[in-house]
């Protein structure tokens, strides 16, 4: 009897060991990739940001401390970058969301040439950011640009978008709104299509007008999707860089006035070789975006009311 019990116990333990190993084996490839390409860099950036007088090639550093943070937070260029990034997010995200909402609403309706319009709106997503930046650079041109031509049709004076520092940020914001539209439209369109058409039939049978239906039914049911797009867009807008780079020939604005946080990071890393500062600015941006996302998630939980 004893022997049998022992054997049974052995079998059971063998079984449980295998039962535990199998899922781990399936998870291993993904987890390895995650560890190498996400977890390690993430932890390393935080470490580097605290290493003083860090040398990348040798890995030497004098001590752990907050010197990098002090330097970054005391740098007027970084503070300027923080302000510009903040303004960019503040204007681009809401404006892009509202415009995308309107366009997605139209695209969701039965309109003529629907396919053509959908293709046009999504074209920016599959085109190189740099190529688009160069086209925008031409459109913003003081003398020959399309935008100044359009302004002249309304009798407005030409604006020196790219060379007058006062207009650099507005130019970047206009371009930013445009480039954010396609992805936002896709998300919102999916949200629209998730709404059961019977709600509309029911409301219409009760005599509700389109405006009323949109405000009382469509918008509340779309709220979770809008919340999601706001978070995603806020995160991507906080990292504004690839819009900036081609527009001003790789400079942060016409008079070095249009630093953004990521441009500052790029500059510290590739141009000045100050790794500690680059890492510190990345961590600061991360903390800010994380905080904003948490706030937004908290608000969104109150929004999602069903």
């Amino acid at each position: 009897m004893k022997r049998l019990e022992k054997a049974a116990r052995r079998d059971r333990s063998k079984l449980s060991a295998r039962a535990a190993l199998a899922p781990a084996a399936f998870l291993a490839p993904f987890m390895t990739g995650l560890a190498i390409f996400t977890l390690y860099p993430f932890v390393n950036v935080i470490l580097i940001s605290f290493k003083e007088k860090y040398k990348m090639l040798t890995g030497e550093f004098s001590a752990f401390g907050t010197e990098n943070y002090q330097a970054v937070l005391g740098d007027p260029n970084f503070l300027n970058g923080l302000r510009n990034t903040g303004l960019y997010v503040l204007f681009v995200v809401p404006a892009a969301t509202v415009i995308a909402l309107f366009l997605a609403y139209l695209l969701n309706k039965e309109i003529k040439l629907k396919g053509l319009f959908q293709t046009c709106y999504f074209l920016p997503m599959v085109t190189s950011v740099t190529a688009i930046g160069l086209v925008w650079k031409w459109m913003f041109n003081y003398d020959y640009g399309l935008i100044n031509y359009l302004l002249s049709l309304f009798g407005a004076d030409a604006v020196n978008w790219l060379n007058n520092p006062a207009y650099n940020l507005p130019a970047l914001i206009i371009y930013g709104i445009w480039s954010m539209l396609p992805f936002t439209i896709i998300l919102l369109l999916a949200g629209f299509q998730n709404i059961n058409a019977q709600y509309y039939t029911a409301a219409r049978a009760d005599g509700a007008k389109p405006g009323k239906i949109f405000l009382r039914i469509t918008l509340p049911l779309l709220a979770p999707t809008i919340g999601l797009t706001l978070i995603i867009n806020m995160i991507s807008a906080s990292k504004v860089f690839s819009e900036l780079f081609p527009l001003f020939n790789g400079q942060p604005g016409s008079a070095y006035s249009l630093y953004t946080v990521v441009y500052y990071l790029y500059d510290a890393f590739y141009v000045q070789w100050k790794l500690g500062r680059a890492a510190a600015s990345a961590v600061i941006l991360f903390v800010i975006v994380l905080a904003l996302t948490l706030v937004q998630l908290f608000i969104q939980r109150k929004w999602k009311n069903y």
Partner: protein, 353 residues
């Protein structure tokens, strides 16, 4: 309100969903549109509500032609199959929404909603969201919402199909009670003959868009116009015994044994026919015209004793009282009652007796 449907036809491209339907739905009645799936019953409902335009024909509400009117001008209340309650609104807000659109003052709105909640018995659930309600409760809210604007006509699309069997029986009695209390002319769509028979005052039976018969459920069951009607109503389904008409009598296919029924008209010899017999129309001990049969199987279903019988080489079901001592394999003589026994033309389905 009386609803008159005149020569109503609906075509979707090549397919004819509803074909030349003419029927009158009585004022204050509970009417069932009954038929197998794809028979056009929901299409008719959607044309009554105005969601779908009619291809041909007219719909009259109390003699007023509404065929061209959009849904919001018809004053109909709609209850959808999946209820379509607005998920972001509470039960109360859902019920009030049609009134809000009518721009009724808020105080009146709440009063009306409270009345309706009492009628459909959800007063204590008014502040819940649809996701916090069971299927039956959602159904009640949906009916209250449909009744909120005091419609002349209440339309329910498969109101019970999303509920489990027990709740279904309960809810169908509720629908009857609510309809009696509100006195609104009500039309509901169903594919379940039992559902239609149990509560409807008037049953409109359709097949492939064509009206088969419309009357009380009792009349449809006792006096079916054709084979489809006889076959569609009743559980267990009516027995079908095959044969031909010879010399004005039904003769069984294999044995040639005769069974006489008074025919409505002269029927040519050799016409293929179906002798349709309801399970409860089997009489033992036999009297009058008798048929020999053998007991193949015997079940107890609740209070009833259902026997599978072999009659002239064909199987049929019959209720034979448990008091009558028969066993599997026994041979006995049976006869049929006059009621619940019909002869149909096997080709056309026309009733012959």
């Amino acid at each position: 309100m009386q609803v008159t449907i005149e020569h109503l036809t609906k075509r979707f491209g090549e397919t004819i969903a509803v074909n030349d339907l003419s029927v009158t739905l009585g004022d204050g009645r509970l009417v069932a549109l009954l038929g197998p799936s794809g028979c056009g019953k929901t299409t008719i409902l959607n044309m009554l509500s105005g969601i779908l335009p009619a291809t041909e024909g007219r719909i009259l509400f109390d003699g007023r032609d509404v065929t061209a009117l959009p849904p919001e001008k018809r004053n109909v209340g709609l209850v959808f199959q999946n209820y379509a309650l607005y998920p972001h609104m509470t039960a109360l807000e859902n019920i009030c929404f049609p009134l809000e659109i009518k721009k009724m003052p808020k105080k009146q709105r709440l009063e009306r909603a409270a009345q309706l909640a009492q009628l459909v018995r959800i007063s204590e659930l008014l502040y819940r969201k649809p996701s916090e309600l069971s299927g039956g409760q959602q159904q009640r809210v949906a009916i209250a919402r449909a009744l909120a604007k005091e419609p002349q006509l209440l339309l329910l699309d498969e109101p019970l199909s999303n509920l489990d069997a027990k709740l279904r029986v309960e809810m169908r009695e509720e629908i009857l009670r609510i309809q009696r209390a509100s006195k609104v002319t009500t039309v509901f769509v169903t594919h379940d003959q039992e559902e239609a028979s149990s509560i409807a005052d008037q049953v409109v039976l359709l097949k492939q868009g064509v009206l088969q018969q419309q009357d009380t459920a009792r009349k449809l069951y006792d006096e079916p116009d054709n084979f489809f009607v006889a076959d569609f109503l009743g559980a267990p389904p009516i027995n079908k015994l095959c044969g031909t008409i010879e010399g004005g009598k039904f003769r069984f296919r294999d044995s040639g044994a005769a069974y006489g029924l008074p025919l409505r008209r002269e029927v040519a010899d050799g016409t293929a026919a179906v002798l349709a017999v309801r399970a409860e129309s089997v009489v033992v001990p036999a009297a009058g015209q008798t048929l020999p049969c053998r007991v193949v199987e015997r079940y107890t279903i609740g209070k009833d004793e259902l026997s599978i019988l072999d009659v002239e080489g064909q199987r049929m079901r019959g209720y034979i009282s448990g008091d009558y001592p028969i066993q599997k394999g026994d041979a006995l003589d049976i006869s049929f009652r006059r009621k619940g026994v019909f002869l149909f033309d096997a080709e056309t389905g026309e009733r012959l007796s």
